[in-house]
Symmetry: C2
């Protein structure tokens, strides 16, 4: 058997500790499977003395991850520090430049510097693997880079943020408001003290940006993602969705269109009977539509130390076997430029909820504006607001047939001008799924 593949683990948080524990428990089996042993020889962390529940005896300890990255004691640098700059970025660059393979769970780093790092890895003849960076334990990177490499992908979409999915699921199952769910999620550790990054969709966007590149062979372009979080979703929307045969999920979607590639993160109505609609709580799911495979859906844990460690170790196993895959599915220099499809050209169905004054003609004005923009309606629901202060305020809910974003936006502007509605209408895009 070849010499052991020597790992340096930078960052000893939950995931780092799980990785070391996994390799301790299953190291022998892995060596048999890969034909090569794997051993952690060195680690880095800020605090040398903290008890992490793992045995670090015999391992060289660095406080500077860059020193670890350049150490002669390691063949693979495992970056579990996090963050899109600072020590994570500099140590990954140092490792690649020193001819070390890198395994990382850092989505923010990849979303920002992925193409650049891929070129650096390829110039140095080493691998940069990151299965754990996207959807935790779900093997979506390998599925795209390897299993679906014979397909032209037409769309990739998924539930990639457990915090949002937990909140939306509880709002649906228990009829609790967004604010109360968020507070509960924070109490249970499913949401950060500052939850902005999750609930506004940025976290999903980071993952989507990398998946878009893998799926379509384009450069990563995280800044070109249309972004809408879940803070405006009410229990009224969720109930209406239920009655109309939908569930509301925060999806990240990348889709090929005639004018480029749409990348969008927004609350989405998905048909109840679709696989993605059944993904509840903190679970994640990623779905791919390809020209030969048809549709594939992967469901699993999107976070957690152990599940993430499973993916980190899968990347390490590939290195132990000597499997070399281009970082972004094809050599970074061959990636096409990303062409953004404008959101105003987005085509799809829409759910729109208006609060109207209970006066004759309000609905006629709405219908007229829709008609002016050639938007045809599939369903119309009218009802009194259960939660309104004013008994004379009604909800009017429309489901449109396939139309365009610009038509909907212009119709909403026209309706606002008539003065028949109160407040800002709620607008949720419907995703067509089989």
């Amino acid at each position: 058997m070849a010499n052991a593949l020597r790992l340096g683990v930078a960052g000893l948080g939950t995931v780092g500790a799980s990785v070391i524990r996994l390799l301790g428990e299953h190291g022998d089996a892995l060596a048999r499977k890969n034909g090569r042993a794997v051993e952690v020889t060195a680690v880095s962390a800020r605090d040398r003395t903290r008890d992490r529940g793992i045995d670090l005896s015999g391992l060289t300890f660095f406080t500077d991850p860059i020193e670890l990255a350049q150490s002669d004691e390691i063949d693979v640098f495992v970056e579990l520090i996090g963050g899109d700059n600072g020590p994570a970025e500099s140590s990954v660059r140092a490792a690649l430049s020193a001819g070390k393979h890198v395994v990382t769970a850092n989505k923010a780093l990849l979303a920002k510097h992925g193409v650049d790092l891929a070129e650096l890895a390829e110039d140095n003849g080493v691998c940069l693997n990151y299965e754990a960076a996207i959807a935790g334990g779900i093997p979506i990177v390998k599925t795209l880079r390897e299993s679906l490499s014979g397909n032209a992908v037409t769309r990739i979409y998924g539930i990639m943020n457990g915090t949002c999915n937990y909140i939306l699921t509880r709002m649906e199952k228990e009829g609790i408001s967004f604010e109360d769910c968020l507070a509960d999620a924070q109490r249970l550790g499913y949401a950060e003290a500052d939850p902005t990054f999750d609930i506004e969709g940025n976290d999903t966007a980071h993952k989507l940006a990398v998946l878009t590149s893998l799926a379509f062979g384009t450069k990563i372009s995280a800044d070109d993602i249309y972004l809408e979080g879940i803070t405006s979703i009410t229990t009224a929307d969720i109930q209406a969705a239920d009655e109309l045969g939908y569930r509301i999920k925060l999806l990240g979607v990348a889709q090929k269109t005639d004018t480029g590639i749409e990348q969008r993160v927004h609350p989405t109505m998905v048909p109840k009977q679709s696989a993605i609609a059944q993904v509840d709580g903190v679970l994640n799911a990623v779905a791919v539509d390809g020209d030969f495979v048809g549709g594939l859906v992967l469901v699993g844990p999107g976070a957690g130390g152990d599940a993430t460690a499973s993916s980190v170790v899968s990347d390490i196993a590939d290195l132990a076997r000597g499997d070399v895959t281009p970082v972004l599915g094809m050599p970074a220099k061959d990636l096409a430029d990303y062409t953004r499809a404008r959101m105003r050209l987005h085509e799809g169905g829409y759910y729109i909820r208006f609060t109207v004054q209970d006066r004759a003609g309000a609905f006629a004005e709405i219908a007229k504006a829709m008609g002016n923009k050639d938007i045809s309606l599939q369903s119309i629901v009218q009802r009194h607001r259960g939660d309104a202060d004013r008994a004379d305020a009604k909800s009017v809910i429309l489901i449109t047939h396939e139309t365009t974003e610009v038509a909907v936006r212009e119709a909403l502007d026209e309706i606002a001008e008539t003065g028949v509605i109160s407040g800002v209408p709620q607008m949720i895009r419907i995703e067509r799924l089989s």
Copy 2:
């Protein structure tokens, strides 16, 4: 770039034609991704002249697949002939012995000769890849061999036969009898003229046998699978399942127990809200429980020329990149012997439907027998048979708490002896899923 990887495709049915078409359409992209071109240089089929809608000009044509397997014109033998012996087996053996890699979609061959062929491949230093053999377009082989290699798998289960799932789905959605659904499935091409192999579970068993080996590192043991088909399932069972919060699916399940590994294929009640319960029609799904990843579910097309070709080409791409994975996840000589866990020791919940005469004391007899075997009941439903000839016949449906197969079987024997029931009770196992 290295010399092109030369393929010989044996068998030009639906899948073979799709593979050739896929390589024609996406060959350039694949070469960029893999760093090596792939080209079909030769094919074999029985009939040279048939129009298959693909261009075979320039390809060497063999009528004998063994000659193709041994040809100097190929590096990889792609076996798409089918069958667990005859030309498929002999040509695969010939190819491996001649030092050619083999890619196959042949589950029957692997279920019967997998370990033997794995040893032959490994002795000759070549690969035997078979992503397409199990669940069509779903990348479950790669997921088990590579993505989950750091996990101890505790259970693997799935819906792996589209014919059965199509029939069960239509029975549920439309209330049609098994016989009518089967006839429709045959008319639509979803079921064979002789459907036995599908509806009795043999096809699922072949796939399960290979997955068990991959999941648990044991030798393939297809003859040790407990087998029960779907022919006894009635619309009454499906309706009762629905009322009790379940759906009925034909599952293949392999599970680690204290006494060995259970392998079983049988109709199964799965909780409605589980991911697997939502898999309808001809779709397949495979789920894996692992100690680090937790639970993972993959849903996709289990058959069809194009979806299967997607998996065949994924195997070819691995060869083009030079990725070498042991055939059954670890070297065949290291596989452990398979120890069968006896079905009578199976633990789980049970659904039992009796037809009883409408006389006092019948239910007391049933309850007494259950109590004698320490079987506690979770739900009891009693109702008149809607479909009975005799208005005095009632259905009694029980859902048990966790118990053992032997206890249930002995209780049913005891109940039969009392004479309070008519016919054979229906017994469907419940799978505990999160």
